[in-house]
Symmetry: C2
Subunit: 226 residues, 2 copies
């Protein structure tokens, strides 16, 4: 399933043209192969911290020693994955910004969009969910930082779009922080949904919508403490 079925090794040197920096481009290519290998190994539900270096290189079609040309550690690879997750999350925000929010049923449609997004990028969310609490302290902290960046960006967007215009910025950040943890938690649930059970999916979605509604209901009657 992983070894090296006659093709992947030869593919390491691009058969067609390798236009710009063929040399460093190839390096980054195997780097991505390593990252993808780790993500693939987690697709069965295993957590990141249970992966071994050799497994990852095997899955990537590369000899163990080659790993050290890219990362000094599995931890370092994990940090790279955290960054990739950050990019993925920011893309979600950017898309939402671009297409604007539908006038009615904002919450429900946002949830549906998010649900699809999680499913499309399930590998990244799976990693984030697994390493958020289970990874090494360094990775945990990195994820925490990425999440708060995301929350702050979201707050800024709400300010820009003139949603909840009467609330000060720190209140918006509070709200978005809560929304983000709720989103991440929902992502874990979405990922573990049994495929043959559409009823469970409906319930989960409904619950998620109502949790968000609850939060924004609170936001409407929020007033500065003190």
């Amino acid at each position: 399933m992983s070894a090296d079925p006659a093709g992947s090794t030869s593919a390491r040197r691009g058969s067609a043209a390798a236009p710009p920096g063929s040399r460093s481009a190839q390096k980054q290519l195997t780097r991505e192969r390593l990252l993808n290998a780790a993500l693939n190994l987690m697709e069965t539900g295993r957590g990141f911290s249970s992966l071994s270096l050799r497994e990852v290189t095997r899955e990537a079609g590369v000899v163990p020693a080659a790993f050290y040309r890219h990362f000094s550690d599995l931890d370092e690879l994990g940090l790279a994955l955290v960054e990739a997750c950050g990019v993925t999350l920011r893309r979600l925000l950017r898309d939402a910004r671009r297409q604007g929010l539908p006038p009615t049923q904002i919450l429900r449609s946002s949830v549906l969009i998010y649900k699809n997004y999680v499913k499309e990028n399930h590998r990244y969310f799976r990693f984030a969910a697994s390493a958020r609490g289970g990874g090494s302290p360094r990775i945990r902290k990195a994820i925490r930082i990425e999440e708060s960046h995301f929350a702050n960006e979201m707050a800024q967007d709400m300010r820009d779009m003139n949603l909840m215009p009467k609330l000060p910025m720190d209140a918006l950040e509070l709200i978005c922080g809560l929304v983000v943890t709720t989103m991440m938690n929902a992502a874990t649930d979405i990922l573990d949904l049994p495929e043959d059970q559409p009823q469970a999916e409906k319930e989960l979605t409904e619950n998620f919508v109502m949790q968000l509604r609850l939060i924004f209901l609170g936001a409407r009657s929020w007033k500065q403490p003190g």
Copy 2:
């Protein structure tokens, strides 16, 4: 640090009286030693899924093969830990029920109590945080179930104490579900607090209080959908 410093092995056979079922009592004692060993190994911040069977037995002061007298698997040990976490959580609720809530500043004092509780039982919360997203699918599901039990019990308590009397039960469950995930998330943050940084702790606490206030503010203006 772990081996067997001349005392623990001999302690296996109770030096004093072993009153009731001395045999099965001894068995349960080593069983608890195994559970504690796993918890101890996680105290440095490592996730449960990175533990090995041999490490656990070593830390417990027991030979590897002895493990199988108690669990068939590390997974099974994990499930036992999940149950222990459930007991811990239920004790929190029971204490809260018993002493009743202080009339004013309910939220803030509850948060302080919770914060202390997390610190006192940090080993269980550490495990829960690490296995919630990172463990095997079985363990994840078990934790999810335990959490929802906890949320439902909390909702029932609120009903009994006549808090938010106008809300139907399913709304209470929704609210408590959100509160529980917020609590678990806060627990992770509390556990990773740097000890020499009282300022960060204050901020975290404040943020936690305000998140809960936001939720209950939403609850006050909640009305049944449809």
